[in-house]
Subunit: 234 residues, 2 copies
Amino acid sequence: MHVKSASDRVSEITLQLERLILSGDLAVGDYLPAERALSEQLGVSRSVIREALGRLTSIGLTESRHGSGTRVATPSGREISVGYERLLRNSDVPLEDLAVVRLSLESTIASLAASHRTDPQLQQLAATQAVLVNPRKSLAAHVKADAEFHAVLAEATGNRVFPLMLTPIHDLLTDSRLKTLKRYGAALAYSHHQKIFEAVRSRDASAAAAAMREHLAVNSRHLEAMAAARSKTD
Amino acid sequence: MHVKSASDRVSEITLQLERLILSGDLAVGDYLPAERALSEQLGVSRSVIREALGRLTSIGLTESRHGSGTRVATPSGREISVGYERLLRNSDVPLEDLAVVRLSLESTIASLAASHRTDPQLQQLAATQAVLVNPRKSLAAHVKADAEFHAVLAEATGNRVFPLMLTPIHDLLTDSRLKTLKRYGAALAYSHHQKIFEAVRSRDASAAAAAMREHLAVNSRHLEAMAAARSKTD
DNA sequence: GGATCCAATTGGTCCTACCAATTTAGCGGG
DNA sequence: CCCGCTAAATTGGTAGGACCAATTGGATCC
């Protein structure tokens, strides 16, 4: 990648530390040396160290706690999510577009999950369903269970890229999912999930994908309706 | 979004400046006030200003030139891509997994492109095909044309999220694509692309998706073969 | 009018001192 | 011996000054 030589110190140091982390010399959760120590070891002022660590933190590679230290953060895709969020605000990407991408990914996920799911994962899915069908649980709990269902499904593909790609999309769509749940109730989501669940349980890949498409179609229609209402008032 | 209150000064200032930029008060290319001026205006030390600006620069919102000043950078979504790329690289996912995700996205892309493509986009596709079928062009040119073909297709969906999701994946798979081109020659890629092209031209969504799946299957088989060879030597 | 040089402006680095959380070690009482 | 409290050491966070280095813009000179 042509990231031009970066003749300034902080960029150098940032790269150096980044390499140190990504090379595996430092595991997730390990503490980096203290800023004053790094300053001496690397032969630059503490300001440079601080700016470098700040940049690493801003891209989610490290996290610092006052008085405690700085350690490498658990990679979670959350930084990517905020990046996407920023881009969304900036370039005004409509949520409908995101929903389309989600539909594409999730139908593949359902299909693959049906082929690769393990029994414990099946139980996890059942657990989220138990929450969703329980009317005594709060709306927030229902939303969480809904998200969990899809997350477990992504896990069950056995392909680690799917969770990484899906997480930020889910985060961005969480609002719309909440509205959909409010509008149509958890019962509908439960019955949809149940159809998917049965297909995954019986390892019927195409049925799982079809059920997923049907499930997400509700959300898409809702988004489109809102978009239409919005454009009317413009 | 629940981005915890961020009690430290630099986070505050970073958010403040970010808001200032994204709200449109500062257009792309505009210069921010000098660090010393910002320091005084916002009532914090220059160190804080510098760290905040550094973070903004590291996520691609601003760019600083020594002696000149700091201005808001042209938004390109590229920073998001490299963020994604970093994450994927970091988590050490097998290329086969990436190829699967790519297949999922690209088949949807082909389908949507068939419905939404414009005539100029069709011409762009044809142009990359002209390069690919020209044996006088270098291998690098062929790889570029191949990448371009898929990029234009992603554009043609009219959904700006697809390019964003696909770009980092393409970047990570560029090596394997090069090897595939070497192994099977540009002619095969050309004929596959041609099938996709015809389907997109005639707005046949399902044919486009099918042709795309067939196209990428070659790549997948190649990757699997390499993975198998690798595991033998382990 | 054009080229050259110089001074003001601006980002980049270093340093030192101090503030504020956190952790750790030590002390004392039970 | 153990628990709880306190104080010191460690660590990140902020401030502010001094200086270096690149860029810019104007004044000067031809």
